[in-house]
Symmetry: C2
Subunit: 234 residues, 2 copies
């Protein structure tokens, strides 16, 4: 956890990354966060994850009084977390940016302990055209992943949404183990529920179904989710 | 409908666009499609919309026999369109690409009549670095929009998903009218349903609620959806 994670799986030059990292540290544009700490972000800045994992959350600022049929007070609405939505992870070596667009608000949190990021303006990259291109390529890749994610969420059966969602996450962030691939950090049922548009209780029930009936997943130590490899034909 | 739509709302040089368009036409990489025609696409190619609107669809190739509780035959599954998901539009002047990632398949369709596209390989843009950067910036923008879209889909109440979804679409593609902003091409209830993970029947019921109770939308001639401007304070 204490060594810095270099950007992986891409052709980005290590030297540019480390040059920008040094520059960011000198200019107080580098910071490390504890698990679940909110990252203070500003629209227009580009953030790079040096180490750890960022969790992106969104919320729609719907005013509860506008929907009298929900019959809850604003305080209860706050307690329920409004309709906060888990939008995905950004791993080490990847960029993110936060764009607010009323009535939606995006926030970034450190998903794992010791998550470090640094940040810059886009124009700080003017002198690094190939690095900037790789950053833009990362967003292009993230866009492709989001299309797949939307594809999953369009499915009518919640259990298909859940399984598709876990599959996409583990495909992108998973690590191999003897049973298959597992997500190397925990994810609560409430977080999953907020991503696939259902309730925590439903996720708990469907996770059990995926475990016990479909034999598609298992839960490893520390509550980590493992996607089982398809069994071999007999 | 017969004049070509130039790229709008961006700084992309018209001359580069038209130079590439001429090149594409000379090399048979330009084609016009009728409404709802499927665009033959290949992974690895970059497509640019010259005129009209592209609709992106996805489907998860779940094998129906694997889910005996659904109790339908493969033929019925086909008739239901599998779980085909509407993933969004790409307008004139915008790029798209199709990346297949098992078990998900993406397809592109001409959403409006006379939709024209041309295509190239990424390496064909090597000599146009600033144009390539603008294409990548378009994908970055599309990624931001998809995050907002995911934000909407994470909401638990289907009516909130529906209203948020219509708002995002009309914000991006809408045109002004005296009542507010309207989507300038039709969208079926089945298409909306597939985007927000519900049934056509539910969309029909909730669209009625948005129209009659919430007074949030109205339906214009030719079935076009209009988002009403918030009424002024008294």
């Amino acid at each position: 956890m204490h060594s810095s994670t270099p950007p992986k799986n891409n052709t980005r030059s290590f030297s540019t990354w480390h040059r920008l990292l040094d520059w960011a540290q000198e200019h107080y544009r580098y910071r490390t966060f504890a698990k679940d700490a909110q990252i203070p972000t500003r629209s227009g800045l580009l953030y790079l994850v040096q180490r750890g994992t960022i969790r992106l959350n969104g919320s729609a600022e719907t005013e509860p009084p506008a929907y009298p049929h929900q019959n809850i007070t604003p305080a209860e609405f706050q307690l329920q977390g409004g309709d906060e939505t888990f939008l995905g992870f950004v791993g080490a070596g990847q960029p993110f940016e936060i764009v607010d667009r009323s009535p939606f608000t995006l926030q970034a949190f450190a998903h794992t302990d010791n998550t470090s990021i640094f940040w810059m303006y886009w124009h700080d990259l003017e002198n690094f055209p190939s690095f900037r291109r790789e950053i833009l390529d990362s967003f292009r890749y993230q866009h492709q992943r989001k299309l797949l994610w939307l594809n999953t969420l369009g499915q009518r059966h919640t259990i298909e949404r859940l399984l598709g969602y876990l599959t996409l996450l583990i495909e992108e962030f998973g690590e191999p183990c003897k049973e298959g691939y597992f997500l190397p950090f925990p994810l609560t049922h409430a977080q999953i529920a907020s991503a696939i548009g259902t309730t925590r209780v439903t996720v708990t029930r469907l996770m059990k179904e995926l475990r016990e009936e479909r034999k598609a997943i298992l839960i490893k130590e520390d509550n980590l989710i493992c996607l089982l490899s398809p069994s071999q034909p007999e």
